[in-house]
Symmetry: C2
């Protein structure tokens, strides 16, 4: 049986990367989908692990050759999901986790209605403001831009299948693992068990 495609999005400041790392660490059947991006590599990042770092021409070629399941522009850079490795993992029965922004997530859902969309929330919107301002290293104008984007993202959250509130990292991690387990228990996934000669 083919694996499940799990898509996680959440606004900047919601603590998503910590939760996603926790999920990946606790689920060895889950494969992380590495995105391609045109943004420059940051210190500590590894090509092919955090992202596939490519130049604009290469990214445009990937778009043209339809090698991306989805792509979007964010703060002047392209981000996209290479489709071939993802299909390969799913066909092998592995579940695949995509950590992508909202536009991309909704495109994935449109193209693959069986994808499971999880939106990560802060306990309250005020927490996002607090976290973004609290970082202290971001220009106020940029914080405002991120807050505006977070507000827009919240308006899209009702299109997701699940909402996970990050009021506690362990709880958020276990909720996402529970969602993955439950999705694999859905009747449509297990009809083969109902054959009497199974």
């Amino acid at each position: 049986m083919s694996g499940k495609l799990i898509v996680i999005s959440g606004p900047s400041g919601v603590g998503k990367s910590t939760v996603v790392s926790g999920v990946m660490a606790q689920c060895d059947t889950l494969q992380f989908s590495v995105s391609a991006t045109t943004r420059p590599m940051r210190p500590g990042e590894v090509d092919g692990k955090n992202y596939y770092f490519v130049d604009h021409a290469t990214f445009q070629a990937m778009i043209r050759e339809e090698k991306l399941l989805e792509y979007a522009q964010y703060v002047g850079n392209y981000y996209g999901t290479p489709e071939a490795p993802l299909n390969e993992a799913l066909a092998q029965g592995k579940d695949v986790l995509l950590d992508i922004e909202v536009q991309g997530a909704l495109r994935v859902k449109a193209r693959r209605p069986d994808a499971v969309l999880i939106f990560m929330l802060a306990p309250s919107f005020a927490d996002i403001e607090k976290r973004l301002y609290g970082r202290g290293d971001t220009a106020p104008a940029l914080v405002e831009e991120r807050l505006n984007r977070a507000r827009w993202e919240y308006t899209q959250a009702p299109n997701y299948d699940y909402l996970v509130v990050n009021d506690n990292v362990d709880k958020a991690v276990s909720e996402i693992l529970a969602i993955l387990t439950a999705e694999k228990c859905k009747t449509a996934e297990r009809l083969s068990y109902l054959k009497e000669d199974n």
Copy 2:
């Protein structure tokens, strides 16, 4: 927010009671719905805990006065779910588990589409045969009757939301707990978190 109504069914010989006990032991927010029945009390059973044991006249009155969410006849006896205690628990935000047979479960789903229906399966149908014959204390004709009923129940399983395979009690228990967690993460259950002034 009101609690979730979880309905579990499964054919005789699937090991459902052990799994249900495991679920109840591990989830203290979950309340077990005690059914009313006209069948005689068995040694070790407690009135009001295993069942509410009532006579036929009382059961008929409960039907007439619409005090039952569902009821069904099984091997000559009536079984039904008293609605008032269930509504009370749900209103208090408690989740309620119903362990009822297939006809009743489908009636609950028809009346309450937000109920979550879980069907418990054996790893294979041959396991049910093995377990029912293996008990050794049941007349072959009765075993055949139960097997026929199990076959019919399997035909109804696609109407359930989830299928849980009891190939391992701990795994089955944790799958049911995961389903409960995931159901509470569904977007419709958590829309209040999306209000900016939340």
